[in-house]
Symmetry: C2
Subunit: 463 residues, 2 copies
């Protein structure tokens, strides 16, 4: 008999009702009396469980009555309506087979566990309601990102993970090597001899695929990356992981305004997709994790995102300087408290801050006519602050070279990047979206360790 998925049954019970069907899954709870019992089964396909009723007429009734939480079962039975009960239907078991037993020391008994404890059993936590919801939503959002860009004809490009360049000179990096640390090769001058390393030079894990993506944007016009990126920063916060996934679209014949329009459309698409495709999970988050979640997300979908220049934003914030821990001053980066004040109190909706001082932004951002600011944009959203950072790129060869000289970047390290400006360059723009930040935003989960299956942070690479 073919196995039915619980998700299919919930979405359209009609074809299954009053029929003999087979399901299989894991025991979430089991209650039993002398003559009958109830089992809540989760089959992995759906957030909700299905209730199984079994009676003493089962040949192995005694054995089933002793089954422990976490065990896996295969159940044949008839799906019947259960009017008035909590669930719309239940499965009357005709035969139950134990697929796999669950040892008595199973850590996921019915009691509530702290997120901290569950991190220590990251291989089991997706079996809980919260993490089953988080990681199904994570999967759906990943897919929604691909759908959004593919439906617009963007080309997905896998930029390299191992890199010989250091992208923006920003962010501490992980070294990648096959050298024997107990017998490091040296040149005649006594220097470490990276010519003997696997790639014949020093290599690191990428911090961004943007510069590589730009090369593809100059061929395919509209491209995006979606891959892992790395920071070797010793910051043990709820928002930093050493390994995380990033999405970086890059669009040609496009300016900062086009960039913002794309970001706004994408954010709305992602929110809509997850609300439509994971309504049970989203209702669960709204009830148990963050009671403002759904109203916050509806605000995203229904707002026209605001626009404000950095300079204007500084004026607004200065008037309220008593509220802030960090000083407000033109030329300094906005702190999260500033960002949240702008989006939550001033605009009460998502807002783009544009035209930041050039000295707090990366070398590749396009210099504005004022010679002081660059065509950068950060998207701030209520509840979080910055969620997207992007810019129009400097497409003018001379301006880019001048900026690189100012910052002490060596042109020979970026010759291929400069080529893009020599050979049919165009206005272009792009942005970066930290995937985990988006998942935190869409679920209300506060710690990045709880939205990554097996998080990598300072002193932690377990599993």
């Amino acid at each position: 008999m073919e196995n039915a998925l619980v998700k299919s049954i919930y979405r359209d019970p009609g074809p299954y009702l009053k029929k003999e069907i087979q399901i299989s899954g894991w025991v979430r709870t089991l209650r039993v009396s002398k003559t009958f019992g109830f089992i809540e089964i989760n089959d992995g396909s759906f957030f909700k469980n299905i209730q199984v009723v079994f009676e003493e007429t089962l040949s192995n009734f005694e054995e089933i009555a002793k089954v422990t939480t976490g065990s896996s079962l295969i159940i044949k039975g008839q799906l019947v309506e259960s009017p008035g009960a909590k669930q719309p239907f239940e499965l009357k078991a005709q035969a139950i087979e134990i697929e796999g037993t669950c040892a008595a020391d199973y850590p996921l008994q019915k009691k509530r566990h702290s997120f901290e404890y569950l991190r220590t059993i990251a291989h089991l936590r997706p079996r809980t309601n919260t993490f089953s919801a988080v990681f199904r939503v994570r999967s759906l959002v990943a897919y929604a990102i691909h759908r959004f860009f593919q439906e617009k004809g963007f080309v997905y490009v896998h930029t390299p993970i191992i890199t010989g360049s250091d992208a923006e000179g920003a962010g501490e990096m992980f070294r990648v090597t096959t050298l024997d640390l107990e017998a490091l090769p040296r040149t005649e001058e006594g220097q470490l001899d990276f010519a003997k390393d696997f790639f014949g030079k020093e290599t690191n894990l990428t911090v961004s695929g943007q510069l590589n993506a730009e090369t593809y944007s100059m061929a395919f016009r509209n491209v995006y990356t979606f891959g892992p990126t790395f920071r070797a920063e010793n910051s043990n916060t709820a928002r930093h992981a050493a390994e995380f996934w990033m999405i970086e679209p890059e669009i040609a014949f496009a300016d900062l305004e086009d960039d913002m329009e794309l970001a706004e459309e994408m954010m709305k698409y992602l929110v809509t997709y997850v609300l439509e495709n994971a309504p049970e999970e989203m209702a669960f988050f709204n009830e148990f994790v963050d009671k403002t979640l759904l109203s916050r997300l509806e605000n995203i979908v229904n707002s026209d995102f605001g626009r404000v220049t950095y300079t204007e934003a500084i004026e607004i914030l200065k008037k309220e300087h008593d509220r802030f821990e960090y000083p407000v001053e033109w030329g300094a980066d906005l702190q999260t408290e500033h960002e949240r004040f702008l989006t939550e109190h001033i605009y009460k909706k998502p807002v783009f801050v544009i035209d930041y001082p050039k000295d707090i932004k990366a070398f590749y951002m396009r210099l504005n006519d004022d010679q002081k600011t660059v065509a950068a944009m950060d998207l701030l959203v209520p509840g979080v602050g910055e969620i997207i950072g992007g810019s129009q790129r400097e497409e003018r060869l001379e301006a880019l070279e001048k900026r690189m000289v100012e910052l002490g970047l060596r042109q020979e390290d970026y010759s291929w990047y400069l080529d893009l400006r020599k050979y049919g360059g165009t206005r272009h723009a792009g942005y970066g979206l930290g995937f985990e930040r988006v998942i935190m935003y869409l679920t209300g989960v506060a710690n990045i360790r709880d939205v990554i299956a097996f998080p990598r942070t300072v002193h932690n690479a377990d599993f």
Copy 2:
């Protein structure tokens, strides 16, 4: 005026014909006479170019007449039918603006370049016909993989890239470290002190996400990974890269037969998707790269894949042993020449070889009742040989522990993996698909360096 994409115009010219439109893109060729000229423009959205006609009535006719290949232009004009010509329509320019010029030393002049040379300008090669086709197909196939699994309700899981375990004890690995190689910390005993490294222990780049994916399969039932994996192997062949992407589905309550059905369905889906969504590119490959391509792929879609046990396959191959360079013997791994003979000459279609000797397969594969073979499967396809490797996993705790002891694997390194067998384990199975191998198969491109945007191989981590 809004910009029209060349792809939209080709797919449905109706709404654009006889209208004033704007396009933008890069000059592929320009031919000019005294009073008029033709420009082939590629705008990145589509494999084909659009022809632009311009006349001396343009105010900047002289300037446009001198535009070089590779320059970027913005063109306003009227789309008109061009009956009898090579192309169904052309754009009669009313205004042409130069967005970006292209220097005279642009390497992509009209002449044909070797693949080897184009690898040295990997940042420019997607602007050629061949690589524009390869990397658009790569993007489409990546999306098709997500679509296939998501439509079946599979959960996409990002397994870790940096890992503290060594997966199967197989494959040479890249070390990831933040230790200062000039001042390596040592313990009092003089050992390298990895407690001082970023993660507090030795870490490497992953060679497979399978073991991690299995943990999620025991929660979500059906899951898949799609991410980068790494091999630090010193093999300078056309089929090996140090960094490549892999897809690893894992299914619960499933055996080897279910695994093969999934693999067959997926392969047919991918081929169908790419034929439907990249017909121009596929026709190009069939004409210029591999003239057997389309017939080979149609054979995939229209065949019921064969099944043969390893033991039967050895019997078949022994009868033909004169044909082979490598000996055919029970217990030895099949070589590519053996695999290709089976699929190309015996079956003339894709074929699964199952039940391999346990000693040439990984520790986690399920031992068959004969105690000699394991429930492994390799999918062989004409033209390539092995394209997928998978197995039913050993779900029996005792059998798995016994095998690990035989192979000298330390149980403490795999305690979380063994937990899956203690806590409600189920029959389960999965496979791995090398993404680049699939792209090579679907395009006919023979060298893995030509299907990776910026390939990483021995002594090469350029760009």
